[in-house]
Structure formats: C-alpha cells, structure tokens
Amino acid sequence: MNDKRRVAITGVGVVTPAGNDVESMWARLNSARSCGAPITTFDASGFSTRIAAEVRGADALPLTGDRKLLKFGNRSHRFALVAAEQAMADAGVAPTARDRHRWGCVVGTGMMTVSFDELASVQANAAPEGELDAAKVLDEATSNDPMAFCRSQSTAGVSLLTKRFGIAGYASSVHTACASGGQAIGTALRAIRRGAVDRALAGGFDSMVSPVGLAGFCLLSAVSADNDAPERASRPFDATRNGFLLGEGAGFVVLEEWGAAVARGARIYAELAGDGNSLSSYRITDSHPSGDGPIQAMQRALRDAGAAPSDVDYLNAHGTSTPMNDRSEAAAAAVVFGADVGNVAVSSTKSVMGHLIAAAGAVEAVVCALAIQRSSLPPNANLRDVDPDCAHLDIVRDAPRERRVRVALSNSLGFGGSNSCLAFRHPDDTRALVEAGR
C-alpha cells in the first residue's frame, strides 16, 4: 500500500469555437473541419491577420440564472461560467455547507484584463491628445465605473467561480501565457494530492480576439495571415504552416480524490495521473529548437504518473502551427519517446479550434479525457505535406482513429518559457493499480 492520493476526472465542460458543449466540440473535432473564419466581433480590416476562430453564442444567463453575477465578468469570464457550469453538472456533485471547505478552484486566466472598449474610452475622453489629463479622468465613464475595475482584475474569474459554486477551500489563479490552463489543472491535482482539498474545479478561459490582443500577435508574426483561406490557416506539422489561428473559449474539469469519486459511484473519465512543468529560460517568445524545456515537462509528467514512455498511446500536442513550435515539440517527442516515438499517436486539435491561449491546456485536457473514455483519437486537420522535421511522428490525419489509450499526454507550452505537460491514465488501468495496492 502507499498513501498516494490519486485524482479522478469526473466532470468536463467546454466553450470553444468548435462548439459550446462537449458533444458539439467532439463532433466538430472529428469532422476535421477547421473553425477559422473572418473576424466578426470587431472590424479587423486594418490588420495583417483578419481571421480567427470565434466563439458563437455561449450565453451564461440561462445556465447560471444569475444576471447580477454577470456584471462582474467580461467575455472570457462568461465563457468560464458556462464551461464550469457544464463540468459541475456533468460531475453531478457540488459543494455543500458541510464540505465546501474541502473544495478548491484553480484557473488559468486570460491574458487580457482591461477590455479594448474600456481602454478606448479612457483614451478618447481623458487623453484625447495622447497626454493623460488628470482632471478629465475624474469625469471619464470607465474610470468611474466600479464594475469596470472589478471586471479588469486578473482575479475576477476565480472570484466569480468560487462565488457561483460556493467553493471555500482553496483557490489560485495561474497565468503563464499559453501554459496557464494545463498548469492550473496540475496545480489543482497537487492541492488534492497533498490533502488541502478533496475536490476541485479547474480549468482556463481566455479571449484575445480583440484589437489589442490581435495586434500583439500580428506584430510578433505569430498568427497565420492566410486571410483568403481561413479554414486552412491552422495546419500543425505541415511543411507550409505559417502561424497559429487565434481562438477563444474556456474548458473546465471537476477533479476528485479517487476514493471519494469511487465511493459516490461517480463516472470517471480518466485518472489525472501526472503533472510536469519546466522552464525553458531561453528566449521570451522562441522555443528552443532542440525541444529543451518541453522534454523535461513531458518526462516529469510521466515520472509523476509512474508511467513509462512506452505506456503512452496518445499525445495531444501543443501543436500551434507556428514554424518554431511544432519543430521544437517534434524534437522533444523524439527525445522523450526514443525508439517508441512511432507508437505514439499525435494530433493537435488546434488544427480545428485554433489556439485558445490560456484556455488551451484546459480544453485539451478535456479532449484527452474524452479520448480515453471513448477510445478514439481526434484528428489533426489540414495536414497535406508533413514537415520533414516532424516526419517521425505518427500523426492522426483527416479522420479519428479508434484506439484504446492507456496513457495520454497533453502539452501546453507558453510564451515566456513555461512548459506544462499533463498525464492521463485509463480509469480501468488505475482501478487495477489501486487493487494491486499501488
């Protein structure tokens, strides 16, 4: 026997460009039809990139029935509320007065805090000539709106969620750019393992489909400018790839201490078995061509899960479709899996739904949980000519592949050099381990 507390995934919820619930998203991912399209939420005609994968609909009001709560939230917070509501309902468990102090909440928060409209209002009214006029600030609408202040705090998302569900045990907000969602779920895993809480709501949310968000990625040449073929813009591992497709959305999971989940007869999608993190400490926006950084994250996730590289059947790649990321990640896979690399099926679901930034790792954790539960791997869309540097990968192309997954990995690699890898195990295999006293 050992005293390791294992953690089960018992609820999942998503808001994505590929669908605003788990089943719609899963069907769209399996169709291998990308969500890239011209931007509709603002006039992007002056930008070098005028395409994105936008969320449509996802109204939080019918699900939460709490109109007041919504005034504290921006677009990405509303996505978070919807996805979290789905995950909690799916798990069929919620904090009670008796156990709310044994619940935690960890979120990967969006990069943008102040909305573009609010920034624009302050600029237009209080700094029309560029210099801030202090006297005008006092009369300016956004500066005087207490709700704008609440919405623009980076803690707003976690506050809304803990309030909504009455979670009172532990909370944290993670922001490590594109690694945020994965690291948030890993942080929740560790909180349960060390006994701080028994259950947690964990995930990520983001929306950078805005003039400020898009402008930054355009300046970095990080986004594909294939404005004439938006459905082909995201093509991870393709030799002609030229940048990512900006997405938005939220993903949440409900995590439970394994014994507690089993005791209440919960449906378990997968064991959240391992959390691996590393720092590249290389360049702010470049990944190391050797895969240094992601290598250590993947190795640590496997070690944390007590799994060997040869146990891995599926890798949900970070796979952004930037020239640099995919090459570096493919190099990392070659090192981690060695001679077994050809046995690991790989796909980047960003090929369909785009890059959800701080939400990406969380939504992709949901994808891994579903892949294990359904023994089905979603395809990597838009792959025509595989980059020779990625040719050693067994990429799931064009259509889903049936395969029982013993262990799945999900990579989330962030600007600034934060690398996250989560490991997931088939629940039947975990049951066998538990029965064997491991």
Binding site: K68, L69, L70, K71, A141, D145, C150
Partner: protein, 140 residues
C-alpha cells in the same frame, strides 16, 4: 438646503430609477417596489451601491457625492452627536426617521449600527437622492 421634494417629482423619475436599480442588481423590474429595501429585499451588497450611484449619475447626468445620503441625513448635527462607537444615537435615529420618511417606521430599530444604515435604503431613497443632487447642481 433644497426645497421639499414632492411626490410628483418622485413619480416623474421613479420609472428610470427603478430600471437603473434592476439593471444594477440583476433583478426583475417589478421587484423594485418603492419601499423595497435594496439590501434586505433585493440582495444588494456594498459594491452595488457604488455601481448604482455611478449608473444614476449617467442616467440623470448629475454628480452624486458618495456617502451623500447619510451626510444629508446628519445635516448640521455634529458627527459625535449622530453616532457614538459605531452606534447611531437617539438624536441620530430621529434625524434618520425624519430624513428617510419613505422608509416604513417599523424598520428603524434601536440600537442601529452606523454600518447598518444602508439596510434602510429603499428604491425611493435613491429617487430622492437624485432629486436632491439635481437641485443642488449648479446651473450649467
């Protein structure tokens, strides 16, 4: 001090005040009765009052100093005679009863903590607040 506020004046602006309260508190418009306590009946929390005053300023294009209701209620009574150790004095309570005449009398219960004064505020309290702010606003 501004002239007495008439019922007709309150009637005139109340629909807009009620709509603004409903928006700020996320409640239904028909819940916003004139004598509804924003805290007790409509679930307002402290930040909602800041939000509501901000929204009323925009809706009526008036400046409303924060804390104006209690300041106006206290009037010329020195602060030390209005409340002591956080509790409203007899004299203070008398001022409040008179000033918040729209609040049903049975809701004034001694001892009243100063921090609980906002529990008394009704939808009509905010209509009167707008009218006073408007009357005191220097002509443009």
């Amino acid at each position: 001090m501004a002239a007495e506020i008439t019922k007709a004046q309150v009637d005139e602006i109340f629909p807009t005040v009620a709509k603004t309260i409903a928006d700020a508190l996320g409640c239904e418009l028909d819940e916003v009765k004139r004598d509804a306590s924003l805290i007790e009946d409509l679930g307002a929390e402290s930040i909602d009052f800041l939000d509501l005053v901000f929204r009323l300023e925009r809706a009526f294009k008036v400046k409303i100093p924060r804390g104006k209701i209690v300041e106006d209620a206290r009037g010329d009574l020195p602060e030390a005679e209005f409340e002591q150790k956080g509790v409203v004095t007899e004299a203070g309570l008398a001022r409040l009863r008179q000033f918040l005449a729209e609040v049903p009398a049975d809701r004034f219960k001694a001892p009243l903590k100063a921090t609980d004064i906002p529990r008394l505020f009704t939808a009509e309290t905010f209509a009167k607040l707008v009218l006073r702010a408007r009357a005191e606003q220097p002509a443009a």
